[in-house]
Subunit: 371 residues, 2 copies
């Protein structure tokens, strides 16, 4: 597995290509979340047609249900889910820290309770790697400590230090395998901690680098400060992944700061709650104003939803609780994100990313800035 | 719109072809329910690929939400939903009598309360026809009185008489339009009433004939008695539709008795509750026995679900509450019904329907008989 840096835009935006055993990923790229082994509401074929080349699966969810041993027995995540492209798995850390009702962190790992059935589990850095290997992901993540927001500098430093020790243990057990292991930079909203995180991780050496612990409640300015502190210190020849972020505007900003990979539940979750992304901002399909609206969600969009269905029909499906409505909304939103990344890649290739970003943000107008 | 009777099997099974303005329907045919304008969980393209040529939409649901006026304004059901083939709409009667919390029947029509918002509505036979014309269905149904089960002979006779008077009023307002209006035979489980119903309706003359008021709690023997009383009296050159029935075994029996068209929520609803139809009986995908089962739902099935996904994955999706599971289950069940009808048509063409029916029932073994 290798990463090729193809071009860098004057803005700082990077155009790259990630080669994996199961296909190539053009970057910047957006990964939809297939938490339990399915991008919610969509088939693998639809995900592919939305322009997706890489998906994220959640180790926490799959470890608890159906169990990584089951997936391994059935031939790994690709054979199990029918998605035949590259897969990134997270470490499970974020979910343990945000979803599990009970958790206790020790130097050895984290004890937690399943949100499904209340059973108790212990996850160590070594076991996290073993689980992701059983799942047969292409890109895997080391267990990290994901503190809540806000925390003090001292608390963030503690979490960073533990994350770094766990990263080293993860790297040691991962060595010699086919998968690409990323390092995760923690450090809260504190630039000095983020810088230290990057220095330590790059000293250890990883296949790629992720910025974690953002999108947890901090301001956009804080996020930007963190990215400006961490990203310039990362090696240019390694892919950079901003975890769990975010809105279209967030993505465009982070691309300009040098991020290559993104994941976020936003397009899929918003699809299921009726919020649709368009080139001129968001619309809530529930709105009575769409009851007789024969136009597509976004007249400039070429997705299946926009080619075949009216806002009136989508509104009707949504208010009637029809599953098809959730599918079509999700499909559109995922296509929107995929298309945005495609346009960003083209803009970087042409060296006009700054102009492109400004233009998109102007079109999105006020709708995006409030999100 | 015309109906061609192509062949009659020694068993009594009929092979026909229904020509509509929006496509041809090979009969015997199964119509899935698209109550609110969508076959639940599926796209029109998927419905088509499952072998479906005709769908049923519910007048009651669409009248209440989004309103037939909205659908008319947006170009009718085909333009609104994206299903470009033939559509049959029911009269709304069955839903009024089974779903609406308040109802009062007068000679003029039926007063009822919306199950959606509690609002009061009045539906006359004339208005029912007007609504279905606004929806632009190909085949429409007259308002009928659908009594519960069990009822007395006198009550069933009253409901039949009112249904016949309403049928005549419906025919009068429908005359001269492009749509095909069916007559609905009522009469409960009483053969004499069913016979009288058929005689009166055929005297009035309709494009096709439906047998209503079954699948409401009566025994299989009672259903068979009713069909044996009513069907032989119907004109051979008109399509015959058995409303709301049923299991694969029911369909095969009714085909032998001369039925051409069916609708039922069973394949779609069962799909959403995890019950899957196979050539060797039903299986409940929730079962722990499927947790590590790499085989498809039905190894002899060629549907998308069976070609791409294992029982283990479908079980995982179902127990995890994933929408994709509901889709894939529904897709399989609909394909099962479509394939069963395809095989039934072939058997009738070859004059071996009786043998085919016995063979299918043997394969289904005990599973079907208990349903």
């Amino acid at each position: 597995m290798t990463f090729e840096l193809l071009a860098v835009d004057p803005s700082g935006g990077r155009r790259g290509r990630l080669h994996t055993l199961h296909g190539t990923v053009e970057t910047p790229a957006f990964m939809p979340c297939a938490s339990s082994g399915a991008v919610k509401a969509l088939s693998p074929q639809e995900v592919r047609r939305a322009g997706v080349e890489l998906i994220l699966c959640n180790t926490y969810h799959l470890y608890l249900r159906p169990g990584h041993d089951v997936i391994q027995e059935l031939g790994g995540l690709r054979a199990f889910t029918g998605w035949d492209g590259p897969i990134l798995t997270d470490s499970g850390g974020f979910q343990v820290f945000s979803m599990a009702p009970l958790r206790k962190i020790t130097e050895d790992g984290v004890l937690f309770q399943s949100h499904v059935d209340g059973s108790r589990h212990f996850l160590s850095p070594e076991q996290t790697i073993a689980i992701q290997q059983a799942l047969q992901a292409d890109i895997i993540m080391p267990l990290d400590e994901c503190p809540p927001y806000p925390i003090s500098h001292a608390q963030a430093a503690d979490a960073l230090d533990r994350t770094l020790r766990w990263a080293e243990r993860s790297r040691d057990v991962h060595k010699g395998t086919e998968q690409m292991l990323f390092g995760i930079v923690q450090g809260g909203v504190f630039p000095d901690l983020r810088e230290r995180g990057v220095r330590e991780l790059t000293r250890l050496g990883f296949g790629g680098y992720a910025v974690g612990g953002l999108s947890v409640g901090e301001s956009k300015a804080e996020m930007e400060t963190v990215l400006r502190a961490a990203l310039p210190l990362l090696p240019a020849d390694r892919p950079r992944y901003l975890m769990g972020v975010g809105t279209p505007g967030d993505l465009l900003l982070a691309i300009a700061l040098g991020v290559d990979l993104f994941d976020c539940v936003m397009p899929t979750r918003h699809g299921r709650t009726g919020t649709l992304f368009t080139s001129t901002g968001r619309l809530n399909i529930k709105g009575a104003r769409y009851a007789r609206d024969p136009s597509p969600v976004d007249p400039s969009c070429r997705c299946e939803t926009c080619r075949h269905y009216s806002r009136a029909y989508l509104r009707h499906l949504f208010v009637s609780g029809e599953i098809l409505g959730l599918r079509l909304n999700t499909l559109h939103n995922l296509h929107y994100y995929g298309h945005l990344m495609q346009e960003a890649r083209r803009a970087i290739e042409q060296g006009c990313y700054g102009h492109f970003q400004a233009e998109v943000l102007t079109r999105l107008s006020g709708a995006e800035s409030s999100a």
